[in-house]
Amino acid sequence: MPTVERKLIHDIQDLLDLLADWFQGLEAIPTRLKHEVNPLANLFVELWPFIDRLLTEFVNEDGVVEALCRLVKHGMRAMDSQFVPYLQPLIRKALTGYQQNSIGSFIYTVEFSLKQFSQSEHQALFLEALNFICSHTIQVLASAENCRRSPDLVNDFFGLSTRYLRYNKEVFFSCSQFESFVTILLFAVGIESSEAATVHSRFIKELLKVL
């Protein structure tokens, strides 16, 4: 990619990170709301087309996806329940993105969404997401060697799995891709990255607790 475009992409990343910082500081807004419209709601109507477009056109730009993921995480927290209309499109977009560019940011998007919206009315959506992620991840992490080469993905995959166990174990155990899941679990045994190994063992501990 030419230098000018690289510079522009870096600028996009920086602006997304600044917006994420701005949302991160808005802690009090959701706690103040009772029945009022969130003051961020109108802004999100304008912001969503940007998010949608970036997740389509810049899906292979890892830095942009990472920054976007952080922006959505903080935006979602600040919007609280008024983010619900964007939840399904976001998850679908993240799954499509993951299929095109198998990086952990897309898995992490599902993870923080699950943390925020683990209630029963979204169970079907999160089950669909887990099934999709397992069936795709088994192709990417198809061997112990692949797991060693992609420690970040192993980290995010088992981070997500732990979150499912903690917040919605019924959905986790309803996963139709459970066989793929166990295969990845075994491939990742003995992974060298200490961070990924920690998350992997934390998941096993969590699993043993609920079994």
Partner: protein, 75 residues
């Protein structure tokens, strides 16, 4: 606020501490206002966020135009 948050100025910002501090400061301000008066907070939100969206949109458009031009040349 309008004197600092000028889109042309923001378009020169990077993700450096000085600019992060400005953004975090405005975030703190909006958050504090939300605790007193939600209506006033609603009027402040676009004043801070929109100037950040303008250069973002311009950068996206420029990448898009350049990519289209490159594709045409290659095609």
């Amino acid at each position: 606020m309008a004197q600092i948050l000028v889109p042309e100025f923001i378009s020169t910002w990077s993700y450096a501490d000085c600019y992060r501090d400005i953004v975090t400061g405005f975030s703190f301000l909006v958050d504090r206002v939300s605790q007193q008066d939600l209506q006033r907070c609603s009027t402040l939100v676009p004043l801070v966020a929109k100037p950040l969206l303008v250069p973002l949109n311009e950068a996206i458009m420029e990448v898009h135009e350049r990519t289209c031009a490159d594709n045409l040349e290659e095609g």
